[in-house]
Symmetry: C2
Subunit: 337 residues, 2 copies
DNA sequence: AGAATTTACTGAACCGGATAAGTTGTGGAG
DNA sequence: CTCCACAACTTATCCGGTTCAGTAAATTCT
């Protein structure tokens, strides 16, 4: 089956290719009557502009890129990214932008992908996740002048816009809540230590614990996997003065932590309170359901997509905070026995 | 920053554009010495061929498409799709194909996306998931002559290749295992009823139950969400002659079912055995860990990607079975009390 | 040695849109 | 009645690759 082109439309409408282009793009240069005739023909023969031709003649590629820099086994279970993707899509589809995905292993590989995408002119912009301190990707994106939006922050990204949620505020609220319940020994199982938002959370956690006069604010570093989360939990719980509450940096680790606690004969929430960061359906599925820091991840993604599209349109975008995670208390938190 | 083009390379090498094209694509028409000189220059200036120009001049777009036709809240928690995507990527990245993603709501919308992608010449082929009976997407793909691979089946897809796993065999093995443990009342919480593989599983489940002389083979239809899975479980467990074992069509529902059973005061596996279809880390996270039907989803996806790339290359591809799911017994199955 | 073939290129057309520059035709102002 | 401005087009060029038709020089064959 042959794809219809603007030349086909032009022939049927008895006008030139140029007129068709003007008509379909809402540009001046054709009368309203002709425009409607052309649009009708385009509709009728099911015309879609060849994205390659469009991209080649200077217009945008109408596509944005996203790299996922986590091992496959984490990606598959971590609901965060799929939520984010759903959010992007809602926004991108509305403006018929495509989303191009690539799974990578390291930030260096990610940089390579950006360079290739840029060179191939395959995408108009990228969404960057998992910001690190002195992130190698930022200077490359600036050098390439590739429109970008960073999810996570705040950090030093120069002119590249950031969309973030107030992680420090959320963790402060959580610790205050646990202290109000009567907890004094609160630990945390953190995410990948070199991610900027992990550092932000760790610092905020330490600050609020100090401010409230809690003896120690232990953060066990982890990697978002259930195995590591469970292991970190076990290490926290075997000590003599084990914590009475643990905050997890994602829901997967929290669920794993819950299983470990139960396996060790500890009652949740009686002996141990658990708070999960990011509230996926997973948190409500387990027993007891987990108290969680909820935020609308899809909306978070949609927000980022909107910012990126604005950046692609050449608008100056600034950093925006996309709503703080709020505590959703469920069955996994209670006063300590 | 200006993107280097073959014209830049040609100028620096003192040859014509055509020669550069031949050299970089391994075509005959240039001497080995010239080729190496050109390749070296391309390397040096960091040349990447403009994908739009390439696609426009008849070559492939070097991209494949995948539509995800599930609501966002399911996508985010269902590990299956991310696993599949990881598998695709492994294969696609190796041949530097891009993956274009689109989230859609209905099969009709999906068809629209295929038509648009085809019209835009944005992709070279698509991967189709969630095959239904008399699937509306199949005739469209055939009409458009868009290379495609269907995941799931076997079904009637004409010349379009299928990659599937032997679901009937897997469910038969599972029921036999449960019966060997002493179970006589086995129920099932199924996936979306109009998906072909759900029907395949339901039929196989009924067949093996009949063959083994079990009184009834109840399948509660569901939609892969935890809520629905929990609800279906509750409905199954309130009856007088409640089942002693339940097979779930995905892991999310199985985890939800486990929580419901525990909430109703039933011991797992003492009072109720649970088997999950698809073995994500989720199954090992909960307590007790779930007996599951394991299959390598990433490899499944990689397999499909390979078939699709072969189809794009014009090779005749046939239907392939990509390995049966095998039972991984864990703590959630035992003889009934 | 001369013809035939092969090698190693060059030049130009082409893909399908976007767009700048040029060409009509029409209506209103002077 | 003429001139001008503007709408409504057409024509031609460009984007950056691929590829086909030439062409000159080198090599092989007889």
């Amino acid at each position: 089956m042959k794809r219809p082109t603007i030349a086909d439309i032009a022939r049927r409408a008895g006008v030139s290719k140029g007129a068709v282009s003007y008509a379909l793009n809402g540009q001046p240069g054709v009368s309203e009557a002709t425009r409607q005739r052309i649009v009708a023909i385009a509709q009728e023969i099911g015309f879609n502009p060849n994205s390659a031709a469009r991209a080649l003649s200077g217009a945008s590629a109408r596509a944005v890129g996203l790299t996922l820099a986590r091992p496959a086994r984490i990606l598959s279970i971590e609901p965060f990214f799929m939520g984010l993707i759903s959010g992007f899509e809602a926004e991108l589809a509305a403006r018929s932008y495509a989303l191009t995905l690539q799974v990578v292993a390291t930030p260096e590989q990610e940089v390579e992908v950006y360079r290739r995408w840029w060179g191939e002119r395959r995408i108009d912009g990228v969404i960057v996740t998992d910001l690190r301190e002195d992130d190698v990707r930022i200077p490359v994106l600036q050098q390439l002048q590739l429109p970008a939006v960073v999810i996570g922050g705040p950090g030093d990204t120069g002119k590249i816009a950031q969309v973030w949620s107030d992680d420090a505020g959320a963790i402060t609220e959580t610790v205050r809540y646990l202290v109000a319940l009567g907890h004094r020994r609160i630990a945390r199982v953190g995410g990948l230590p070199d991610l900027l938002h992990t550092r932000t959370r760790t610092r905020a956690f330490e600050d609020v614990c100090t401010a409230l006069g809690l003896n120690e604010a232990v953060t066990m570093p982890s990697d978002y996997t259930g195995e590591e989360g469970g292991r970190a939990t076990r290490r926290l719980l075997i000590g003599a003065d084990r914590p009475t509450a643990i905050i997890y940096d994602n829901d997967v680790m929290a669920v794993a932590g819950l299983a470990v606690a139960q396996e060790m004969g500890l009652a949740v929430p009686g002996d141990l309170s658990i708070v999960a960061w990011d509230d996926s359906p997973l948190c409500s599925l387990v027993h007891p359901p987990l108290t969680a820091l909820s935020r609308d991840i899809a909306e978070y993604g949609a927000h980022a997509a909107r910012e990126l599209l604005a950046a692609i349109d050449g608008k100056q975008v600034s950093n925006v905070e996309a709503g703080t995670a709020h505590l959703t208390p469920r069955g996994s938190t209670a006063p300590p026995r």
